[in-house]
Amino acid sequence: MGAIFKRELGSYFNSATAYIVMAVFFGFAGLFFTVTCFMSNTSNLSYVFSNMFVIIVYLTPIIAMKSFSEEKRQKTDQALLTSPASLFEIVVGKFLGAATLYAICCSIFFVFGAVIQMFTPANWPVIICTTIGILLLGGALIAIDVFISALTESQVIAAIVGIAVGFVIYMMSNFVSMVSSVEWLSGLLNSISFTNYYMNFTYGILDLKDVVFFLSVIALFLFFTIRVFERKRWS
């Protein structure tokens, strides 16, 4: 698993991908920080976090789009699948590589906390808690995108489908209100709406239920990814 993780993370930094993703992430985060904190003279970071949700919906598929599609296109999956490494190691190694790049991006929020600290005591519990939330949220999206990437040989298709799925997840609460007359459906959508679970983090509440939800989504989609390769092998 170590080898695959190292290569995956290295491949982002050997190409321009890592630097562009980080530049875009830091650029937008900085913009939101300037507009919502500096210009309105507040130490409340919650608007930065809520605005970043959209950016994350765009960026996570870009990070994860190549994870398996490119391997399949270049036939390098043949090296992975005929090596003694198990499917679990391969899939988890790939996921952790992508998730690590994303985590590096999220470190910017601590920088913002430090900047605020220079003027007024920052609300560290909320900042730390929200960052954990945003890490879990992004992790879940990356797991979904890794799964999508395993279904296609084209990075572009993987990215577009990933962004579409991300937006559906982002707008889930809107769908809930649209189908409010159908109780079971709105209840169902409500219970899988990422925002519901994410909101608690932004209040500084670290609820086990929310953490477990995101970890389950990650585990589920990584499991699906493994199944994709097993199924492909048997078909």
Binding site: G2, A3, I4, K6, R7, G10, S11, N14, S15, Q74, K75, T76, D77, Q78, A79, L80, L81, T82, S83, P84, A85, S86, R233, W234, S235
Partner: protein, 320 residues
């Protein structure tokens, strides 16, 4: 040792590999021969565990590839038809990655240097694979297969895309490796297989049509010995003269070369030599032998015969 038993692969209704069984002993070089699309790569992909079989088993040094993949796969070095290269890495970085991926337990730096020396890529070790020529890429792929000194090497058309000099080097290397490793090696070039391999399996339409020692392949298919003659003289005189020679089985006139000269094919019993008798008989009949050659089929002919026989059979079967 690799043991393949009743291996079959179906995609929907199409059977790509049909009930193949064979085994390869330690230290044997097995050539896998067949036209494009015969099922060579599919078979190799099944042996290496890249895809599963529809039915049948593959056992690698006692470990079944699907039941005990870790053990089986670590005994195999595989060079697929398209070398699995990460083209944005340098050669050394790539080999280091493959070394870790295969969980090789040898001194890393020395082992990689040794393998690079063996396939002669040391001078490009710091270059990015993207910028290498096809021949070098093929060799990097080969180096990858050799990492960890696996007892079994499976090479899918390793010489495709190499220049003649490189092909000769590659063949010598494979022959050398065959002293210590079990090698299964596929190609659609006959001369290559016969130059390297101890044993040849010919595969056509997913079936094994021949499994022979390299030197036996030709004679076992072509049957009787043959002599090819260009003779000056009238056809009837020549045929009458040749007919009476002992051990001659059949005489066939192939075609006229020019007026009064024709080419004949003489079939005679295995283990006999009729050349002297033929010479004397033709001379006594007042005709002249202009050319006398061994008319035995080349390996190429035998191969084409095998494959076309199989295809005709299939066509007849399909018509029914």
């Amino acid at each position: 040792m690799v043991e393949v038993k009743n291996l079959t692969k179906r995609y929907g209704n199409v059977t790509v590999v049909d009930d193949i069984s064979f085994s390869v002993d330690n230290g044997e070089i097995l050539g896998f021969l067949g036209p494009n699309g015969a099922g060579k790569s599919t078979t190799m992909n099944m042996i290496t565990g890249y895809i599963s079989s529809s039915s049948g088993t593959v056992t690698v040094n006692g470990a079944e590839i699907l039941d005990n993949p870790k053990k089986a796969k670590s005994d195999i070095g595989y060079l697929p038809e398209i070398p699995p290269l990460y083209i944005d890495m340098t050669v050394r970085k790539y080999l280091e990655f493959m070394f870790d991926l295969k969980k090789v337990k040898l001194p890393k730096k020395e082992h990689i240097s040794e393998v690079m020396r063996l396939v002669k890529i040391t001078d490009v070790s710091e270059r990015i694979i993207k910028h290498l020529s096809k021949g070098y890429r093929q060799r990097v792929g080969f180096a990858q297969a050799l990492l960890g000194n696996p007892p079994i090497l499976i090479l899918d058309e390793p010489t495709v895309g190499l220049d003649p000099q490189q092909i000769i080097e590659m063949r010598a290397l494979i022959r050398n490796l065959g002293k210590k490793h079990t090698v299964i090696f596929s190609s659609h070039v006959l001369s290559e297989v016969s130059a390297i391999c101890d044993r040849i399996i010919v595969i056509s339409n997913g079936k094994i049509v021949a499994d022979e020692k390299a030197e036996n392949l030709s004679s076992s298919i072509s049957g009787e010995q043959k002599l090819r003659l260009d003779i000056e003289g009238s056809v009837s005189t020549v045929l009458d003269a040749l007919k009476v020679i002992p051990n001659v089985i059949k005489i066939r006139k192939q075609h006229d070369i020019k007026d009064n000269t024709a080419r004949y094919l003489v079939e005679y019993k295995n283990g006999t030599d009729v050349r002297r008798d033929v010479f004397k008989a033709v001379a006594n009949a007042g005709c002249v032998i202009l050319d006398m050659q061994n008319g035995n089929e080349t390996l190429e002919d035998s191969f084409l015969k095998l494959v076309s026989q199989d295809q005709t059979k299939n066509m007849v079967g399909g018509a029914r």
